[in-house]
């Protein structure tokens, strides 16, 4: 996420930038970051679940993908907690 461009837009060069415009910019940056994570997760689960791509996504493959997404989110929680625990 590019905060430096936002900071300069909000402060220095153009202090009268409308707040609405600023918030729109902020939201689009958040959406971009979110989309990036989404693409990355697709790659991880594709590697694990679709080892031999067929003519369509099979039932076991789609259930693997949903389990994979659930586990990845769980893994994010475990890693986050481990980092914060060590930081204290």
């Amino acid at each position: 996420m590019d905060f430096s461009s936002m900071a300069s837009q909000a402060g220095g060069s153009n202090p009268k930038m409308p707040t609405e415009k600023f918030m729109d910019h902020f939201k689009s940056q958040m959406e971009q970051a979110y989309a990036q994570k989404f693409i990355e997760l697709g790659g991880k689960c594709f590697d694990k679940c679709v080892t031999k791509p067929g003519s369509s996504l099979g039932g076991s493959e789609s259930s693997c993908v949903s389990r994979c997404v659930d586990r990845y989110i769980e893994a994010t929680g475990i890693v986050g907690r481990a980092l914060f625990k060590a930081n204290q």
């Binding site: 909000a10 600023f22 994979c68 475990i78 986050g80």
Partner: protein, 78 residues
């Protein structure tokens, strides 16, 4: 938060706060990606095995150890 009530100082404080959060999220996301590849070798099941969750937790904490060693190494070079 009401966007119309923001003045520049508030915007800066808000940005700094979000910047810190983004950095933290970024680190967690990066580490999750790395540790996922290291620890989850089989197809994902409906639950993590105790070995898998321990590996994920250890992986994150060992990464912190590594960061410390590298920092000390760099400091001793100066």
């Amino acid at each position: 938060m009401d966007p119309s009530s923001l003045n520049t100082a508030e915007v800066q404080r808000f940005l700094n706060q979000e910047k810190e959060r983004a950095m933290m999220n970024e680190m967690v996301a990066k580490l999750t990606s790395v540790c996922w590849d290291k620890c989850i070798t089989s197809t994902p099941g409906s639950k993590f095995s105790s070995g898998e969750s321990a590996c994920l937790s250890n992986c994150a904490q060992r990464y912190l150890d590594l960061t410390l060693i590298i920092m000390k190494r760099f400091q001793s070079m100066q």
